[in-house]
Symmetry: C2
Subunit: 369 residues, 2 copies
């Protein structure tokens, strides 16, 4: 079965939408924040902890799983769900983002991308067909087309050529796609050029994907450029398909892009920040390593319903982080992911009440950057 | 309230005993394996995971907690239980074992031990009084007397002097002890000399401790020497008090020393082995990093009731360990601790059936060293 997106309610004053996505591994409501499980594990967490923080869906990285343990081993295990014992929906990326950060410009050809493995330096070629073949074997619920992720800044001429290549690659991937229980997304590129985004959307929609991702974001662009890219994409995307903004997960970016019509977000920041001792709070990020928390016997956030806040104090987490005990990163990962999934819950509620702009204003009043 | 030991049944053919220990934080049966939570956390595990593996009691290290976060912060948190959110019994060591491994021989005086902090090189003095004062503040259920842990090998003359010092230190600690909800153990030293062990036990018993530890083990002595040290200690220890063998937790050593009358064991090995990718099994230790497990889609042990074995395959844990994902060490820690707590459960059953020697024989038939 392919995924199905259903709109529950559109917000009156903005493009924000409250919907739900029905998958073979359960239904979740959108907007939703999706934690990143790069190597078939969301760093430091068990799958039960993921269920507990209401992560409706998780992401796994095709590039990493291709190199280790290899898609054939995952397939022999019965697919990614069985391999990692996760019963909820899983989305895989195409490997494109990782590969482009390892490749040199001249390594991008019509065929695909040549790059060196970050594990052993082996020269490898990833193509649109190979990316789909790997994802078909991983058997995630949702696969991504292999696209070219253009960095920032760039020239218009390069983006024009790149969008055409991304469209040809999307077609090539779709042609070899072979997994009836998996859905395939097209990826909208075109940088900050409205006509290119429009063109890219229109061509992808002709190919009829199960959902659409917005790419070319989270590559160092200023926030206003990112928001414009999203606006120029959502404007042309079909209402009846889900929209996933790749690599974006800063709280304010989630709010701004939900307002522009995005449904799903992913980002490594909640777990990466956790490993460095940071926690999201209503008042901005705090660094638990800070000495002022040494004798602070209150939770990270008083009214947070996460396991870390219900059971542990800042003083204890401060101690764990200073002592380099992994339970510290685990508690902060739980809190940070829950912070973002709760943020999307709050946004769904704000959409239902047609009050998302008020929600944003209130959020910005408290949150220190 | 002080702890209370009750004998449930003595094994007919050996000195093995099945008993229970009643503490302010719950009752558990003995023999029992006690996981080590050096820095107020059993590495990689949550407290719920400790409850799940039936760890009747855990150990925390006075030396480490003294240095970081400091006993005063733990006291302000309301004691170690509240600080780390652990509701079961906690035992603290005296800091002696850690300090002696950092001190040079000439640093041991009648007053105490001078040594350098492993964190910042500060010169520090730990005395019997200071150790007790710290433990009183940590507010564990069971505190240890500060003793001199003599290494192996040694001269009889040195051990003779050392036993007398350990006895004087035990007295000094007991004199300043001030926590009515905490119990205090005396530590039996005397190396492999029966007369010195006997003398040490007799003098400690005169001081009337709440329980007794057997020390001078796990310092590099051959196994037969260790078993003899235990025999020479248990032989003279009172039947109505619990006996804790410090630092010993190898499966076969648990069996051999239960047979000699020991009730409680602790060891860092199950969690340390886990971090290096090793798991205990009925057939001996296995290294999950080994390539032969890459496509092994069975659990570590088929009939193990631990979370890791119920939910994950060797292939997945192999992948996690190779990918340096902390969930791997966590799953192996859960398994290894459960392996040892189940071993002590099996031994209690064997005692009830007067079949502990048969149990040992059967165990040795399977277990490859």
């Amino acid at each position: 079965m392919k995924i199905k997106y259903e709109l529950i309610k559109g917000e009156k004053n903005t493009k924000a939408r409250h919907g739900k996505l029905i998958t073979n591994h359960g239904t979740f409501e959108t907007p939703m924040f999706m934690p990143v499980g790069t190597q078939a594990t969301v760093k430091t967490l068990s799958v039960e902890e993921l269920y507990d923080v209401n992560a409706g869906i998780i992401l796994a990285n095709t590039y990493h799983l291709w190199l280790r343990p290899g898609e054939d081993i995952v397939a022999k295990a019965g697919g990614l769900h069985k391999f990692m014992n996760y019963k909820g929906p899983i989305l895989t990326d195409s490997g494109g983002f990782q590969v482009f950060s390892l490749a040199k410009p001249k390594d991008i050809t019509e065929e695909g991308v040549m790059f060196k493995s970050h594990l052993n330096g082996d020269k490898l070629l990833l193509t649109p067909e190979k990316s789909i073949e790997i994802q078909n074997k991983l058997d995630s619920d949702i696969a991504m087309s292999f696209d070219e992720c253009v960095g920032f800044p760039h020239t218009r001429k390069y983006v024009e050529e790149s969008v055409e290549r991304t469209l040809r690659w999307a077609k090539r991937g779709k042609d070899v796609f072979n997994n009836e229980n998996q859905s395939l997304f097209g990826i909208v590129q075109g940088a900050e050029y409205e006509d290119l985004r429009k063109h890219c959307v229109e061509e992808l929609v002709k190919m009829d994907f199960d959902g659409y991702s917005i790419g070319g974001t989270a590559v160092g662009e200023p926030k206003d450029v990112q928001y414009q890219q999203v606006e120029y994409s959502c404007k042309y995307l079909p209402e009846d398909k889900v929209r996933y903004l790749m690599g974006v997960g800063d709280p304010i970016d989630i709010i701004e892009n939900v307002i522009r019509g995005v449904d799903i977000f992913d980002c490594v920041m909640p777990t990466r920040l956790a490993r460095h001792g940071h926690a999201y709070t209503k008042y901005g990020k705090i660094n638990l390593k800070n000495k002022k928390f040494e004798e602070d016997f209150t939770p990270i956030e008083e009214h947070c319903d996460c396991y870390a806040c219900k059971s542990y104090t800042k003083a204890y987490i401060h101690h764990l982080i200073k002592a380099e005990e992994t339970l510290g990163a685990r508690l902060l990962s739980i809190h940070n992911i829950r912070y973002l999934t709760r943020l999307t819950e709050d946004l769904r509620k704000a959409i239902d009440e047609d009050k998302i702009l008020e929600y944003k204003e209130e959020f910005l009043k408290n949150y220190k950057f």
